[in-house]
Symmetry: D2
């Protein structure tokens, strides 16, 4: 339910306005060097409040290592990392309880959990939990580096515009939230990862990616455009015995299996549900529809914060597959990995 | 690996040119009426050879019930259904072994399984296994009917054209394979299915959908287009206490949870890798690149056969979620369900 | 539910008096040589009808390879093996339906599956399904041989007597069924298998072992006797850097992890529920208690058939753990393993 | 690895001498009342330092609710409970690192995790983690109460003696650790729980029970003694339509399924490995065998602390099975459960 992965398995927990959020990561090989500083850059990338269009809420977001790390290395036991919530203003939310916000999980959470859910700031449904995904991703990416696999996700469009500043300005001018397109590329991924059917690389990555709030679509390689191509155009000719292809319409996955070429996929992020605009919704208590507007601290373009989260969940999938294919050992024997 | 589902769990097996393909379905409630005739329509929908653009290969595809069915009802024990392969011509494929076909799994299968794979007609990677998915889907759809949930998938575009006949003619004229877009709609799906993060409805459906060969993309609700919308446009206003929304940009899923509105998503099918056109690939034995063309029986537009497979995997996910939420019982008590 | 194993995962299906029983084995490394003859010895060991005290029912029990095997080797795809039921006489059972036999699953099967269960000869609850366990065990034992791990289970007591012939004679004289004690020993098992808590070697083996019908108890090393020993007696002194111990009270597992010494455990098999003696039970239809006796073909001492099943489920667990610890590769590269 | 359960799933983490230990419990129904005081009694039962024969180490062991609880009720989101370690004296252990203690996990932990393991006080292998099991058990037992299922485990033998005080005195007199036998009885358990093979009630309970450190054996009903009985003796005659049996040799489980009678099983606890007696082991650094004795704080009879842990893991299994069989709802609708 709140876990993912077969051999490299993470569990996330926590609420937006509770004491904090965190993760347990089980199955990480023993001997991986790990320090608080390793998390700084990615946690910083995820934070709001720096770029125009992101929320002014600021969490210090220092990862607190609880278990599974000893003498600055992973021990092979479950790793627990916790992030305290310091900067919550529940008052913003409590008064809205009778009014399920459109586009948010308020209505479905109430239906699913019978009114027992922690409704403050989205509770367990909050994007706040992505900090736990990012933390797990930092560890996963360190594992990928053991086989020289590297990745990078970046935003390609904001509000339908490839000129990102213009897209963001469009949101600011309209005083409305906007969405975006993010692309992820993974270099030097070994071939042979994934399975023909249910555990295809695309199946696993899309499963993980749709865990990220606000994702509405994913396409691999040429994606939707492939539906309009001829087979002779789309097929990637194999160039040599390494499996390198002349083109890469497949985006690095054929028959569900990585083929050694660059893994490429794109996702769509919807505009943030919380917009400063007035909106209509249904009031549970009064039984009538009413106009309301969100006053809390919110991002105009949540997509700006997603690339590092996308890398994280992708790295989780790939680290798991590398362990399944025995391309990463269960214990890191070589002390020279200290330098990574 | 070749299994999917938590409570309603299927395992598929078989090869294109082996003795047959089949499935084990574990966790199906006891007491569901099930006859061979229940499978006819969906198996027929999946077959090639009827429409222009599909393969002349014809399998009789009669489901052979091996276990788990007694007196025309499910017993609660694992259901095994087997399909014999009658119509295989391995000779078409064996001579091609040194030449991994572009766009096919030949290369990655060889890499992953060290040359031990059954390479005839794609072996275990073959689209032939989708008949097992369809069979499981028939059972899953019968379960959905218990809560009056219905679904329909249909092809919306061929070769980039919404005029399907024109799209297909384009393939025939060009003597090349083409792709297509398929949309799936599910009516009357209960709210509360799915989980906030890793087991969101989108996560589970996309996981299942990318098990279908040739799928390259998926989008829920407005999908990629959402990335270009304003929040005030995209948010679906809640109309009443049932959670019905005025618009349905979300496509029936909010915060990972079904919200009771119509579930809507679209997928992209790439053009079939097997095209009559000459293509270039790398010959493993000679070590040089060469021109080849596929002579076997193949579809010009595999997308024509996909809608029923898409329904099937969607139904698998939803039946599992309905069991998880206890909206379908473990034993069907009421004998009056005979009429379904 | 009917599956077991994480990386090396089997699913069993079938009924005593249906068309047959079988298994799907997923995750077996590619390249393992496998022929029908490999199964003969173990299937013969499991059969009744040879020793005094076992049932005269005779199945030919020839494993039918359906999928996952090509050119006499595993391909890496799911392996399906099927056993036809040829020798069933359902009439023996149908008349007993109203009378749940004491000690059998008749009553609970009816409760659990609402009367929809296949009640003929125990249906899916039948010991007949252990032939599928044995078949999977043959494959698992071949994997264990790759790391020179060998095992042997044998019966140590029948009807409370270590003189086995005397124990069996006791059953024949009393015209009553009897139980027995079986011991399993595994030599040359690598250290480091298992996990400290939920996936301890004992947890996994006992989980698998209690899948065998009629097992009532299991003990590792000195087992129940350990409860009466002093710590200084029970502790096994470590002799050298290999971890070899002077004594082996632990039975090869410490802290849930294999320690490289011989793995030793014993199980108790209850007397077969089907005894020729008259017994009392409750008649569902008449609502009164009545006397009945079982007329079918049954074993006086089912324990005689269990050692090979015990080896099989133990081998399944150990093969899975060896894959998890990467002590067996996913693809068997060396063609010289032909000789095994 | 460190998780257990299908729908009601717990993950444990932590080390003996780290910052603390804890659990994540996922899948608990929403709406269950839960307060810190609910845990007091069971945590107290688990503690050492009260009875003769238990360790003087005292942890305050106050459960710290981190997530998943809101307004004194479960929310349906993952529950995280943490226990700080306050009372650790690592110095006791560090000097022993070169000397793997006989009967402890020191040797296997080093082998398995390559020397990266937290070796202080057994690290992740410590019995300290059973406090997390007990906490999860408190919640599971509250769920069992919803269907009026109750349980009790108690020690039946110490050091081979049914006179417990005499058994304990034997340990004190000998200045050596001793083991014991514990019995668990569950009343009013619904029938129909469990599966015929791999997920039999015995399989699942034994899996969970062997997670408890120092358990060496388990038997259900008459257990090992059943191996010496006749079938006509062992079979439990069914008395009426509820499935009540005249005797209960089966211990409440037939064919792997609960039959509605009392569930009864016994386990053997070995003598604590840490004994005040001098012992011999192998010194990794010097490469020679040497005499040593354990100086830390330890129990003479760890079995005294096990009954509540045994109840906890049993309750975890049963709560999971009750959810699987839909005998407990996913959301507790009735507010009147406040009184439990």
């Amino acid at each position: 339910m709140n876990s993912f992965g077969r051999l490299f398995r993470m569990t996330i927990y926590g609420e937006s306005h509770g004491t904090g959020v965190g993760l347990v990561l089980d199955g990480c090989p023993a001997g991986l060097p790990l320090k608080v500083e390793d998390f700084e850059m990615d946690i910083e990338r995820r934070k709001g409040g720096i770029q125009k269009g992101t929320t002014p809420r600021q969490e210090s977001d220092i990862p607190i290592f609880k278990t599974g790390i000893f003498n600055d290395r992973t021990t092979g036991a479950p790793i627990t990392i916790y992030f305290e919530n310091n900067n919550t203003r529940s008052g913003d939310y409590e008064k809205l309880r009778a009014i399920p916000r459109p586009g948010h999980a308020d209505f479905v959470a109430h239906e699913k959990f019978g009114g027992y859910e922690d409704y403050r700031g989205g509770g367990h449904f909050s994007g706040r939990l992505t900090v736990a995904l990012v933390a797990a991703g930092v560890i996963a990416k360190k594992l990928l580096m053991l086989v020289d696999t590297d990745m990078h996700a970046e935003i390609k469009e904001i509000a339908g515009m490839t000129d990102l500043d213009a897209g963001l300005q469009k949101a600011i001018d309209a005083k409305d939230s906007v969405g975006g397109i993010i692309e992820c590329r993974v270099q030097n991924l070994p071939a042979s990862l994934g399975e023909p059917f249910f555990d295809s690389v695309e199946s696993l990555i899309s499963h993980a990616v749709f865990s990220i709030p606000a994702v509405r679509a994913i396409e691999f390689g040429t994606g939707f455009a492939a539906a309009g191509m001829f087979g002779s155009e789309h097929n990637d000719a194999i160039a040599d015995k390494t499996g390198r292809t002349i083109t890469n319409h497949a985006g690095g996955v054929v028959g569900g299996i990585s083929n050694g070429n660059e893994l490429v996929f794109r996702i769509a992020i919807k505009p943030t549900s919380s917009t400063p605009k007035e909106q209509e919704t249904f009031n549970r208590e009064t039984g009538v529809r009413e106009i309301f507007s969100v006053k809390g601290r919110h991002d105009l373009c949540i997509a700006l914060r997603v690339p590092v989260v996308l890398e994280a969940v992708t790295a989780l999938v790939l680290a798991d597959l590398l362990l399944l294919e025995q391309k990463i050992p269960r214990v890191l024997k070589d002390r020279e990995d200290d330098n990574q």
